[in-house]
Symmetry: C2
């Protein structure tokens, strides 16, 4: 019997999950099938080296005994490249590369575990009054008689017209199936849900309030808002990790996963997100004592890849140049056709995609921020796992572009990068004189100012931007992003194996991962690339519009709203603008979804404006590469934009902060 035909017991620690796994599959697949989340940032492209597992039982047979006895497949050349000798000796393997060949007890190191992201997407007040496509109307009718034997539908239609001047021309089949009995049980006194001109629900008696759900499906996080349809207020929120993270951290990994697993991959990821939406719907309904049948509309925003997977459209083409989407305009789909467990007659509205890499989520940002109505020249940066930029004004019109920031800004492809989950260093400051850092860890209330165990696990996006900006400001790295050898701090050192320079942000005793958390030369380069791409995108857009100087920069997105505007300014994420004009608006994509849920004019506006925004494909601009290369420098030297030195002077309280830091403990060499 071959390995492919046999099943083996595989146990993952520390979760303790176990199950029978058919031989021949990878450990990563085994983990997924057992619901164990292992970070697989590169989407099995053998580049990230993150998906480590430690073999507790089973692996020892690999040494000294014949290969056929091994419980895992042979050590690979890729593992040679991605893992250290110490790791190899410590029985660390990469789960994407090692295949199950026998019973296994595996340990997932903390750094490789998928953690629950800290969701920090809050719902603010909306700028528009509620005037939704979905309305409720209370009506009373006379029962049919032989002199007035009109059918149920036309009777309801007439009552809606008479009492509310509301026009009903259609009725959903699933609603119609229940209406007759409801009308009679309720003695012809009912509340009718009307979606546009379609009757979608009829319930006995008078109902005063009704609710819809707006959802922002991020690559990493799904955030949902239960919304009062009559006043637009968000009455409950829920969020959870996008369970597709199991199949790859970023959109390209997921597209790759779909391509490498034809049919099945897309189906798995589609089911994962539908399942997550159904859980969220359940949670929101339970919280507000509603049934799923009470929900008749959801509005969804997401990037184009998430959009395609959500609708079970092949995402392959959106991942390959020229990146055409399958469907740009907004779509309305019956909930039952997507398997979303709200009322079967309910509607799922997905906002329009603007272009291949500017999705429905950016359409949400667009109508929430309305650059097309702005008197000022504004740049809007929505940094998710990709960067989407909008630029323009009422006068000039609006252009969009997508920049390949890479996942660095969210903590991936950074040596100790991680998502914004507990244990992540999210804010960093470096003392100008001592070059000692202080930082804040998610899950801890206070700033960490002296050596103590704060269970730091890694650095999330806002933290990495902070630390890079601070290293530049304090002279640890130079304009070109190179570490300055002469910088007077013991924290600057060389990695023993690679010889690369690195800055020690947290010493081992401060962490929960048993090693120093450092920022490497490679990390700085990754941030330069990300920041340079945003800056270069902005430059191309401004040039296209003929803008010399921005009036305002808007940072959107859950991630953007946690960035330190000063850090962004210092590293030159965007062209020159007064610090006071750098505004953080939070989850504008989610705001756009909520607006479209409760205001039908905004919904029309969204679909229209998504088409009027001009998408600039940066790669077709001849000098994009040149602009981009220059933009990677801190601060930027690109004409006609002045450099950023003045920003530093604008930053308040630097003196004070520096002083505070002096009083803090300076760590001994650990």
């Amino acid at each position: 019997m071959s390995d492919q035909e046999r099943e083996y017991t595989v146990i993952f620690q520390p979760s303790g999950r176990r199950g029978k796994i058919r031989g021949g599959g990878s450990v990563l697949e085994a983990a997924r099938s057992l619901g164990v989340e292992i970070e697989a940032i590169c989407g099995e492209k053998k580049t990230c080296g993150k998906c480590k597992v430690q073999v507790m039982e089973g692996f020892f047979e690999k040494f000294g005994v014949e290969s056929s006895m091994a419980h895992l497949s042979d050590w690979t050349k890729d593992e040679d490249r991605l893992l250290s000798t110490a790791e190899r000796e410590n029985h660390i393997r990469l789960s994407c590369l090692s295949k199950v060949k026998g019973d296994l007890l595996l340990f997932v190191p903390e750094e490789a575990r998928g953690g629950k992201q800290v969701v920090r997407k809050k719902a603010g007040k909306l700028k528009y009054p509620a005037d939704p496509d979905l309305r409720i109307y209370y009506i009373e009718m006379n029962a049919p008689t032989l002199h007035d034997p009109e059918d149920d539908f036309l009777r309801v239609k007439q009552a809606l017209k008479d009492a509310h001047n509301a026009e009903a021309n259609r009725i959903d089949l699933f609603c119609l199936r229940q209406m007759g009995d409801t009308l009679r049980a309720a003695k012809w006194k009912v509340t009718v849900w009307l979606w546009k001109d379609e009757i979608v629900r009829v319930v006995p008696g008078k109902v005063e309030r009704h609710y819809g759900i707006a959802v922002d499906i991020g690559t990493t996080t799904v955030a949902a808002y239960l919304t009062d349809m009559e006043n637009g207020r968000s009455v409950a929120t829920d969020s959870k990790m996008n369970p597709q993270v199991r199949f790859g951290e970023d959109v390209m990994s997921r597209i790759t996963y779909a391509m490498q697993n034809p049919g099945k991959g897309l189906q798995q990821m589609h089911e994962a997100i539908i399942g997550a939406l159904n859980e969220i719907v359940g949670n929101l309904c339970d919280e507000h004592k509603l049934t799923r049948d009470d929900i008749l509309e959801m509005v969804l925003v997401c990037n184009t890849a998430m959009h395609h997977i959500l609708l079970k459209l092949n995402p392959e083409h959106v991942g390959v140049a020229p990146f055409p989407t399958a469907m740009a305009p907004a779509v309305d789909i019956k909930a039952r056709d997507l398997g979303i467990n709200i009322n079967a007659s309910g509607n799922i509205h997905v906002l329009a995609n603007e272009a291949g890499f500017v999705g429905a989520d950016n359409c949400g940002v667009l109508i929430a921020e309305e650059p097309y109505n702005s008197e000022e020249d504004v740049l809007i940066i929505d940094i998710g796992t990709n960067g989407e930029l909008l630029c323009g004004s009422k006068k000039l019109g609006v252009v969009s572009c997508s920049v390949a920031t890479g996942p660095a800004l969210e903590g991936a492809q950074i040596k100790f990068g991680m998502r914004a989950a507990p244990g992540a260093i999210e804010k960093v400051e470096i003392d100008q004189e001592t070059l000692e850092p202080r930082f804040k860890v998610i899950g801890k209330a206070d700033w960490h100012t002296h050596i103590e165990d704060v269970d730091a696990k890694g650095i999330c996006g806002s933290g990495i931007i902070d630390v890079v900006a601070e290293m530049f400001r304090t002279g640890i790295v130079d304009k070109g992003g190179r570490f300055v050898k002469e910088a007077p701090t013991r924290r600057l050192r060389r990695d023993e194996t690679t010889g690369q320079a690195e800055y020690v942000l947290a010493y081992e005793p401060e962490t929960s991962i048993g090693k120093d958390i450092v920022v490497t030369q490679g990390d700085v380069r990754a941030i330069q690339l990300a920041v340079g791409s945003i800056y270069a995108g902005a430059v191309i857009m401004m040039r296209h519009l003929g803008i010399q100087k921005l009036d305002k920069v808007v940072l959107a997105g859950a991630f953007g709203s946690h960035l330190n505007p000063f850090s962004c300014a210092i590293i030159g994420m965007f062209p020159d603008v007064p610090i006071a004009q750098i505004i953080s608006v939070g989850n504008a994509a989610g705001d756009g979804a909520r607006l479209c849920l409760v205001n039908k004019s905004k919904r029309i506006e969204a679909n229209k404006m998504a088409r009027t925004v001009k998408y600039l494909e940066l790669t077709v601009f001849a000098d994009f590469e040149r602009v981009f290369m220059k933009a990677m420098q801190f601060p930027h030297m690109e004409d006609p934009f002045p450099n950023w030195k003045h920003v530093i002077d604008e930053i308040p309280n630097w003196k004070k902060i520096a002083k505070e830091k002096k009083t803090a403990d300076t760590p001994a060499n650990p």
Copy 2:
């Protein structure tokens, strides 16, 4: 262990079907569950006495042994009333009344068997050119580039606009899911199916022809027409029994079945008709070498009860005064929502119901015959299991009504009545001098003019109308419908048990049922009631419109098209009209369905005209009862309509026929 907990073996002969049946259920239920069709015309209301079974094994224990040993439940009072002593002695039971209490071998007498109806619904040529809501367009596009990265949908939309000036604003999700790969595989040369403004199918290359299906769902028969959408031609037809017949012969029986089996009954009948439609779709596609995916639209017509069961709407309310339907206007439903196996993105269009008992099938008749465009005053009679009448003209407008003909005109509630299946006597003439009949049996090519075995099994609708008309014409029954004792024929006799007069139409040797086929006084009464109701309905309609005399009578329906207009005239089915102006148009309801399939203007016209036709609820007319009572007389004496004596003179060839009959054998007293 009680009877309800045990299972017994039940075998039905002559079909040989057998199975395990849980004790306590009726024999009729057992038959249904095993797929044995037993006629249950009254819908288990204990009035028809048709659902006979003969107990071959098991029943004998009923006599002489204790009751608990019996394999069937006790003989009932209702069986006393509905079965003769001879039948009781011959171990005949009614299957709806006897419950399974042990193993059984049962024989279903031929007269109680459900037979396959002879379907005689042919498709003629349509009066309108093809201009359907569903069109196909061949388009060629350029592949996306970085300079033109438009999404797939808008690319297709633009090509449709450019090449054909066709407007696409929507795309069905299930179609969208396949479009991207299809466009690329086909190198951007595809044929697009556009339903109104919605893209519903995209296939590679150029397709020249496409097809839709029109279906007339009759209470008894489902007839379907595979139709070329580009020229309206019917290229294949198929039909089958409406499998709901198992649950009751007429609409009221089925409504009753639904009410007596809450939830389950409707579900069973709904699944039965959907299953039948799927079989028909399969047959038509196979015949024309199409796949089910090739079919993107079906248009259905049916009466209101069939309409409700088809859509799985509670039919209860449509069966009780004031008979309001759930939904009068036409509906468009995605095929997938009904479980109909055409293309998942396909549309099911069901024509509008006019009123509680004037359904979508009559809407089909309405737009096929267009009385609202007629210069003449026309009466249209659609006789199915119910009678629906339309009356009016362009000048006067059109009114409709429904008359409770009862099932007599289709052969039910007639002692030897049966459906138009092989063995049914379908045409009858009686010699004026000898009072001897000659008749035609379905399945036999020639008229039956002398005693010989022609396997006659019963009399179908057209036959019973013929024989009653002929008995009246030849003086065997009088104006009041009573048998004339003095009529000089041995065929007129009294039933030994009931004492009722009867006319022997076929002697036992001519039949396959082992007994004489007779027409009873009760049968004549049933026909009088049916015919009187149509006549009275017409009178009320004409009076409402102010019509003194009809210009034309149209007989519609598969049944109507087989009626002998002379017989109808003789028994006074409708008010005075020249014989030449009595026109048979065949399945006008089916014609209406086909028109709506291939012509979008007719579809709009149908929905509109269904609402402009004024429905007259006959029971609210104070003198309806009086008119009806008078109308039961042959020929009618109702003022201002002259009686029908002149009609007989108009009938051609009576002399010739009479002469032929004389030469035929006169049967010996059998």
